[in-house]
């Protein structure tokens, strides 16, 4: 047993190395001085740590610049759009729809519909969404992206929460209906508070997905805050395209800023993720 564990431990360490090395490299690149970034052989343990890739005096907002601090206007857009599309997807659409599908409209076709909505590849919808958002006069606006992002936040929320709602005993809601609550107050006073873990996962996963989204933002936005709704992934692409091979330090620093919130939120939600994804087919 001990021998086997030692062997497995080695394998796990190798796996962990592969999982962590790119992150480690990005973080140290963000903290390196240029002379240690562009050198052969590469420096694995930086001798000098600098924060100048994140911020140097004179950095202006709203420009793709050498330092990550310039990404602030994109970060504002990302935060607002990810929050709004996550919350709307969870509370306005996902939760009531999941409740309806587990309690009132138990039909395999409704569940298939949700699956279908989740499966649609973003690239297949860029044209119609571009046309619709143009018609609504919402190109390069928060609402334009929010409305489009709901196309993935809402089905995911519905999917996740169906598993959580079907887990709560029906008798609690029946007790509420005898106690005098209407179907709607039963939903938001009784059922909803009972799936708070599910709501949290839904909000977090939606936020991460919206925060990380790229192709719709690429097509539907073209300037950062305050004139437009470009999100932070586009800051990174601009950075890559404009500053190609010049400012890895600033690029990596911006990458660190972008990945930090989603890693933190992701680890927080980890406990309930699998149950959510598999609609409760696996309970942890």
């Amino acid at each position: 047993m001990k021998k086997l564990d030692a062997f497995l431990l080695i394998l796990l360490i190798i796996f962990s190395f592969f999982a962590l090395f790119p992150i480690y490299w990005t973080v140290i690149t963000a903290l390196k001085v240029n002379s240690e970034i562009f050198t052969i052989p590469p420096v694995f343990f930086p001798t000098k740590i600098t924060f100048s890739n994140f911020y140097t005096p004179g950095t202006t907002f709203g420009e793709v610049s050498q330092t990550a601090f310039g990404s602030f206007p994109w970060l504002i857009n990302s935060t607002i759009i990810a929050l709004a599309s996550s919350l709307i997807g969870t509370f306005v659409i996902g939760a009531p729809a999941a409740y309806a599908l587990t309690r009132y409209l138990k039909n395999v076709w409704f569940a298939r519909l949700i699956l279908f909505m989740m499966m649609i590849p973003e690239a297949a919808f860029i044209i119609p969404f571009y046309v619709i958002i143009t018609k609504l006069n919402m190109i390069n606006t928060w609402w334009g992206l929010i409305l489009v992002y709901i196309s993935f936040t809402a089905p995911l929320s519905t999917w996740l929460l169906m598993g959580f709602f079907s887990d709560i005993p029906k008798s609690v809601e029946e007790a509420a209906s005898i106690d005098g609550l209407s179907a709607f107050s039963t939903f938001y006073k009784i059922a909803l508070p009972m799936v708070i873990p599910g709501i949290m996962v839904s909000i977090i996963l939606n936020f991460i997905n919206a925060w990380n989204e790229f192709i719709y933002a690429l097509v539907l936005t073209y300037t950062p805050f305050p004139t437009g709704a470009q999100t932070v992934p586009l800051y990174l692409t601009d950075f890559i395209v404009i500053e190609k091979s010049f400012a890895w330090g600033g690029l990596a620093a911006a990458g660190v800023i972008v990945m930090l919130p989603s890693i933190i939120l992701g680890i927080y939600a980890q406990k309930y993720l699998v149950k959510g994804w598999t609609m409760g087919a696996v309970k942890e």
């Binding site: 029946e174 005898i178 106690d179 609550l181 708070i196």
Partner: protein
Amino acid sequence: MDNGGSEGIMSEVIVENVTKKFGNFVALDNVNLTIKPKEFFVLLGPSGSGKTTLLRLIAGLEDITEGSIYIGGKKVNDVPPKDRNVAMVFQNYALYPHFNVFDNIALTLKVRGYSKDAIKSRVSEIAKILHIEDILNKKPRELSGGQQQRVALARALVREPSVFLLDEPLSNLDAKLRVEARSFLRSLQKEVGVTTVFVTHDQSEAMALATTIAVLDKGIIKQVGDPYELYTKPKDIFTAGFIGSPAMNMIPGKLVKDGSSWRFVSEDFSVQLINTEFENEYDVILGIRPEHITLVKDDGINAKINNVEPMGAVTYLDIQVGSVELTVQYTGLIKLEAGMEIKVKFVEEKMLFYDRKTEKLLNI
């Protein structure tokens, strides 16, 4: 809406020709019942008998396929649960996990627009009756099974419902607590005086609690009566076998006219009947409870002891009479062993005869 306490409490429940189908499955088949005000009415049956479905129909949680239900003289077929002024205790208690005990009990009053002071006094009043004053601030998950059950009772009784419905509320308690809860429930019901419908599959629970019992099987009401009646004169084989523990002994045989008197003849023995009269000769099943078989010195039926089970106050004997095995209850302890030969006698006035075709009781 809520029509206040005292008037509601006198409510009578009438179930009239009620049929409930789930798809093609008939859960209840033309059921008729009258539940009198203040009665402790028990619906008793094995699982799948339709007893819980009937309770849910009275509560309004399921809709009726055919027939009508009246509560307090008013037809309630289309009245939603909240407007029937019924209260229900669920098998799993169904407490609101995110509310504390006080809010669990108070919710129904809040919804019905009671003032803050009224809510406070009603809740503390019912909490006192149920001895849960100390736990009003706790969440359901912090409570023991017995406490949860009391909270569920409190929640149901706080607004003085006209009908009080309980769906196997004791089945989640351990054996000792269950017996305690039984007597508590019985006295509570007397104190509050509310019409109560109680569902259980446990016949001893039914006997202990009920003023009236309805026995259900496969969606059909088999018999309605008080516990005494059901125990002494079960009208059909199902009820006879379902009520009583250990179960009634069933012996197939024939009723034969023997001159001026009647005689029960089985494969292995026959019994002369002195005081019992019948219209015809029948193929029958003789039902006799274990306590109505007595041990005799001589002039009895020959039997061999298979097993002895001394319980203390009584002793159960499994005896073999020809091809049938019977259970005998002997009051007190007796020194007998498996393999011994004995003689037994049936108490004639306690012998019940069921027509083998109709499965109905023939005794008058």
